[in-house]
C-alpha cells in the first residue's frame, strides 16, 4: 500500500536556460535538416542538387554569357523609346520619388541597420568592380591567317592613343586543338572550324589506311608564310612581323607614336598550314552612334586602303569566343556594368538619404505628416507632367505616351493601376455589402464580370473595342486605355479581397459602435475598414505584385514595357541570339522589385496594433 505524498512548496525551482543542443545553429540544423535518417538523406541530396545547379549557372554566367547586351542598352531597358537627351526628366522625377520615399520612411518608422549595411555594401561593390576592372588585362584578339578559305584578308583599323603599346604575336596551328579564347571575328571562327573538320577527316582517313594495312601518304609540309604589317592612316608601314613556314612562333611589341587611326594588315602566302595572329591589349571599339560621333570628332573617320578592304575593329566585327576567365568576366562585363550603374545608384542613395534626413529633422513637428501626405498626393501629377512635358515649355518638350517604354512604362502602369484601383476596389467592396439593392447588384455584377474575363481580354476591349463603340474616345492614348483596363481589373480583385477582410470583423464591435450612437458610415470608416485592411495586407500586397507582373501583357496592345523591351533589344544586329541574358536581367529586376514589395508588406504588418497582436 502506498500513500500519496502531500507537500507544501518551500522554494520555487530556478528558471534556467535550455540545454545547448536544443537551441542555436546546431540545434536548428539538428531539428530541421537532420532530424531523421530520411531527412538527412534528403538534405544531402538537395544540397548536392543545389550545388550542381548553382555551379552550372555560375559557370555559364561568368564564362560564356555576353552581358554587353545589358550594359550597352540600359537606357532602352529603363526608358524604352524615350529620347535620350530628355532622359534627365524621368531621372528628376525618380529622384523626387525617392526623396519622398526616404522622407516617408523616417516620418512613419525607421530603417533597420540591415538596410543601411546592404546599401553600403551595394555602393561599395559598384565602386570596387570598375576599379578592379581598370587594372585587369584586356583579353587578346585573335585573327586567323591561312586555313581553308579563299577570302582575301582585310586590314583591321584601330584607334590608338599616343604611347599605347601592343604586342603582335604569330602562333602556328595545325587545326588539331580547340581555338583560343578571346576576341575573334566570325570569319576566323568559321574558317578555323572548317580547318578542324578537315584535320579530323584526314586523321580518320589515316587511321583507316593504317587499319587496312595501306601506306599512309605523308602529310603535306606547311608552307604558309604569315606577315603582319602595322600601317598608319595613310597606309605607310611602320613595323612588320613575319613567321613561317617553320612552325616557330614570332612576336613583337609596338608603341604607337601619336593618337589616331592605325591599320593592322595581315597577309598569308602559301596554302598549307595556319597561323593565329594574337593582338594583345586591344579593346573592340564601340558602335553606339554617340560614341562613334565622339570618336570621329577626335580622330576623323576610319582610313581607306587601296587594294585591300578595311574593317574597323569594333564590336560588330569582334565577338568574344570561347570560355572567359574570371578576370575577363570582371574586365568585360562586371566592371562596365557597375560603372554604368554607379552614377544612378549614388544619386538614388543620396537622394533617399536626404529625404530620410529631412524626415528625421521634422518628424516631431505637427505639420510634418500632413505635409508629407499632401506631397504624396501632389507628386504623381507633378511627375507625370515632368515626364510627359508641356506644350509651349521649350525646356521640356512633349514626349507622347507612346514613346514611354521599358521599366518606365511598367512602373507607371503598376503604380497607377494600384493607386487608382485601391479606392475603387474599397468602394466596390462596401457597395457589394450595401443594403440598397441597386448599389449591391451593380457592384456585384461589375465585380463578377471583370473577374470572369482574362486580363488580356480586358486590355483588348479597352484598346480596340472602346473606340469602336464610342468614336469620341478614339483620341485617347493607348497607354491611357491600358491604364483603364488594368485599373478596373485590379479593382475587382481588390474588392473581393477587401470584402473578405470586412467579413472577418466580429459583429460585436459593430454592435458596440452602434450602441455608442455612431452612424453607419463612421463605423465603416473608423472601425471596420482600418481593421479589415490591416487583416488583408498580405492579400493586397500579393495582388499588387500580381499587377506588377501582369503589366507585361500590354504587349498585346502594342505597348513596349520591360518585357517587350527585352525582346526588342535582342533584335539589334550586335545582340542577336542573346535572349538568355536579356530575359535573365529583366527576371532579376522583376524579382528584386517584387521582393521589395513583399518586404514592405511584412513591415506594414508589424505596425500599430499588429505589433500587439503578434500573430
Amino acid at each position: 500500500m502506498a500513500t500519496p505524498d502531500y507537500f507544501v512548496e518551500t522554494a520555487p525551482p530556478p528558471t534556467r536556460k535550455p540545454p545547448i543542443v536544443q537551441t542555436g545553429a546546431l540545434g536548428w540544423l539538428r531539428a530541421n535538416l537532420f532530424s531523421s535518417w530520411w531527412n538527412s538523406l534528403l538534405t544531402v541530396v538537395s544540397l548536392l542538387f543545389l550545388a550542381w545547379v548553382l555551379t552550372s549557372f555560375f559557370q555559364w554566367a561568368t564564362q560564356q554569357a555576353n552581358w554587353a547586351v545589358i550594359t550597352n542598352n540600359l537606357h532602352l531597358f529603363a526608358l524604352g523609346r524615350y529620347p535620350q537627351d530628355q532622359a534627365w526628366r524621368p531621372l528628376v522625377a525618380t529622384a523626387a520619388l525617392l526623396f519622398l520615399i526616404g522622407l516617408t520612411w523616417r516620418l512613419w518608422g525607421r530603417a533597420a541597420w540591415g538596410v543601411v549595411i546592404a546599401v553600403i555594401v551595394a555602393v561599395g561593390l559598384v565602386f570596387l568592380f570598375p576599379a578592379v576592372a581598370e587594372n585587369l588585362p584586356v583579353p587578346n584578339t585573335y585573327f586567323l591567317i591561312g586555313g581553308p578559305s579563299q577570302e582575301p584578308l582585310p586590314a583591321l583599323a584601330y584607334v590608338a592613343e599616343a604611347g599605347e603599346t601592343i604586342t603582335l604575336s604569330l602562333q602556328p596551328t595545325d587545326f588539331t586543338v580547340p581555338g583560343p579564347a578571346g576576341f575573334m571575328d566570325t570569319n576566323s571562327l568559321t574558317v578555323y572550324g572548317l580547318g578542324r573538320q578537315n584535320a579530323r577527316a584526314a586523321q580518320r582517313a589515316a587511321e583507316r589506311a593504317i587499319a587496312a594495312g595501306e601506306e599512309v601518304p605523308p602529310a603535306p609540309e606547311p608552307d604558309l608564310v604569315a606577315t603582319v604589317a602595322i600601317l598608319d592612316a595613310a597606309g605607310e608601314p611602320l613595323a612588320t612581323l613575319s613567321a613561317g613556314p617553320e612552325a616557330v612562333p614570332q612576336s613583337m611589341a609596338f608603341t604607337f607614336p601619336t593618337t589616331g587611326w592605325y591599320m593592322i594588315a595581315p597577309e598569308g602566302a602559301g596554302t598549307v598550314g595556319g597561323w593565329w595572329l594574337e593582338i594583345s591589349a586591344v579593346m573592340p571599339l564601340a558602335t553606339a552612334s554617340t560614341l562613334v560621333a565622339e570618336r570621329e570628332a577626335r580622330v576623323g573617320p576610319p582610313p581607306q586602303l587601296q587594294g585591300q578592304r578595311v574593317r574597323v575593329m569594333d564590336i560588330t566585327l569582334l565577338g568574344f569566343q570561347g570560355l572567359e576567365t574570371f578576370s575577363d568576366f570582371i574586365k568585360l562585363h562586371l566592371g562596365p556594368f557597375s560603372a554604368a550603374l554607379r552614377d544612378f545608384l549614388l544619386l538614388s542613395v543620396a537622394v533617399t538619404a536626404a529625404g530620410y534626413g529631412l524626415g528625421a529633422l521634422i518628424r516631431r513637428q505637427r505639420w510634418a505628416r500632413r505635409a508629407a501626405l499632401i506631397a504624396w498626393l501632389v507628386s504623381p501629377v507633378a511627375m507625370f507632367l515632368l515626364i510627359r512635358g508641356l506644350a509651349g515649355v521649350p525646356a521640356a518638350p512633349v514626349v507622347e505616351l507612346e514613346r514611354w517604354g521599358g521599366l518606365l512604362l511598367t512602373m507607371i502602369l503598376t503604380v497607377v493601376g494600384i493607386a487608382a484601383a485601391f479606392p475603387i476596389g474599397v468602394l466596390l467592396a462596401l457597395g457589394r455589402r450595401s443594403e440598397l439593392p441597386v448599389v449591391r447588384i451593380f457592384c456585384t455584377l461589375f465585380i463578377e464580370l471583370v473577374r470572369g474575363v482574362p486580363l488580356v481580354t480586358v486590355l483588348f476591349m479597352a484598346s480596340l473595342l472602346v473606340p469602336l463603340l464610342e468614336p469620341r474616345l478614339s483620341g485617347v492614348d493607348n497607354v491611357v486605355r491600358a491604364l483603364f483596363g488594368i485599373t478596373f481589373f485590379s479593382a475587382a480583385y481588390l474588392a473581393e479581397i477587401v470584402r473578405g477582410g470586412l467579413q472577418a470583423i466580429p459583429y460585436g464591435q459593430i454592435e458596440a459602435a452602434r450602441a455608442l450612437g455612431m452612424p453607419g458610415w463612421q463605423i465603416t470608416l473608423l472601425i471596420t475598414l482600418p481593421q479589415a485592411l490591416r487583416i488583408v495586407i498580405p492579400a493586397i500586397m500579393g495582388q499588387f505584385v500580381s499587377v506588377f507582373k501582369d503589366t507585361s501583357l500590354v504587349a498585346i496592345i502594342g505597348l513596349i514595357d520591360l518585357l517587350g523591351i527585352s525582346r526588342t533589344v535582342i533584335q539589334q544586329a550586335e545582340y542577336i541570339g542573346l535572349q538568355r541574358e536579356s530575359l535573365l536581367f529583366i527576371s532579376v529586376i522583376y524579382f528584386v522589385l517584387s521582393y521589395l514589395m513583399s518586404w514592405v508588406s511584412r513591415r506594414l504588418e508589424r505596425t500599430g496594433s499588429g505589433a500587439a497582436r503578434r500573430m
Partner: protein, 254 residues
C-alpha cells in the same frame, strides 16, 4: 403584475416604458407581451434561464434588435422606424457586452475617446481628459495606452464600462457583463458596477450574479420563455419567491 413591493419609491416618471412588446426571430416567438416600467436611478436586475429572451429584451431597448409589436418609449421618445429617434435614444443609453467588444486596433484611451469625438463632437483634449477621469473611476488609469489585447478580461470590461460612461448616458444596459470572466476578475467589475449604482445611474443588468442582485438591485425581474414571470425586491425575491417557475429556477442555482 405589480411593480412596487415595499421597495424603493421613485418620484419621477418612468424613464423606460415597455408596453406589450412582442418579438419574433423568424417563426420563433422570443418576447411575449413584455410590459415593464423602469424609473430613473433604479437598478433593475434581470435573471432567468438561457434562451429566455432577457438579452433580446435589453437589446430591443437600444434598437440592436427590432421589436415587431408593442411600444418602447425611452426618455419620452418612442422607438420606431424613425432613425433620428433611434440615434437620439442611443445617445442616452450606454451598453456593456458580455464579450467586451472593445475596438482592438485602438488603445484603451482611444476606445473611450472615439465616440466622444465623432458622435458628441468633443475636442480631443476634452475627450481625453474625460477618458482619463473615467479610467480612474474604474480603477485602471495606468492602462490608458495599452491595446485591448494586452489587458486582462476584467480590465477590458472596465474599459468597456468607461467607454459607455464617456457618452454621459442616462441609462446603462449590461448584458451579462461578468459571464466571460474568471472568478478573480468578476469582483473587480462588480465593484465598478456597484459604485456606479451607488452614484445614482439607472441600470438594467442581465446577470447570473445573485450576490450582486441581492446587494445592489432595487428590483429583480425573472424572465422565462420570453415573458416576465415574476418581479420583486431582492429581499422578497430571494427569500420568498411566489411563482413556481421562479422557485424551480432559484432552487437550482442557489
Amino acid at each position: 403584475m405589480t411593480d412596487s413591493h415595499n421597495g424603493r419609491q421613485f418620484k419621477d416618471e418612468p424613464i423606460i416604458v415597455c408596453e406589450k412588446v412582442n418579438k419574433w426571430f423568424g417563426d420563433f416567438h422570443v418576447l411575449k407581451d413584455v410590459s415593464v416600467q423602469i424609473y430613473p436611478q433604479e437598478v433593475v436586475v434581470i435573471i432567468g434561464p438561457s434562451g429566455s429572451g432577457k438579452s433580446t429584451f435589453i437589446r430591443c431597448i437600444n434598437r440592436l434588435e427590432e421589436h415587431q409589436e408593442g411600444t418602447i418609449i425611452v426618455d419620452g421618445m418612442e422607438m420606431g422606424r424613425d432613425i433620428r429617434n433611434v440615434a437620439a435614444i442611443r445617445r442616452e443609453i450606454g451598453m456593456v457586452f458580455q464579450q467586451f467588444n472593445l475596438f482592438p486596433h485602438l488603445t484603451a484611451l482611444e476606445n473611450i475617446t472615439l465616440a466622444q469625438r465623432w458622435v458628441r463632437r468633443r475636442p480631443k483634449e476634452e475627450a481625453e481628459a474625460r477618458a482619463l477621469q473615467l479610467l480612474e473611476r474604474v480603477g485602471i488609469p495606468e492602462q490608458a495606452n495599452k491595446y485591448p489585447l494586452q489587458l486582462s478580461g476584467g480590465q477590458q470590461q472596465r474599459v468597456a464600462i468607461a467607454r459607455a460612461l464617456a457618452m454621459d448616458p442616462k441609462i446603462m444596459l449590461f448584458d451579462e457583463p461578468t459571464s466571460a470572466l474568471d472568478p478573480e476578475m468578476i469582483k473587480e467589475v462588480l465593484d465598478v458596477m456597484k459604485e456606479l449604482a451607488r452614484s445614482g445611474m439607472t441600470m438594467l443588468v442581465v446577470t447570473h450574479e445573485m450576490g450582486f442582485a441581492r446587494e445592489v438591485a432595487d428590483r429583480v425581474l425573472f424572465f422565462d420563455g420570453g415573458r416576465i414571470v415574476e418581479t420583486g425586491t431582492p429581499e422578497h425575491f430571494f427569500t420568498n419567491p411566489q411563482h413556481e417557475r421562479t422557485r424551480l429556477f432559484l432552487g437550482q442555482i442557489l
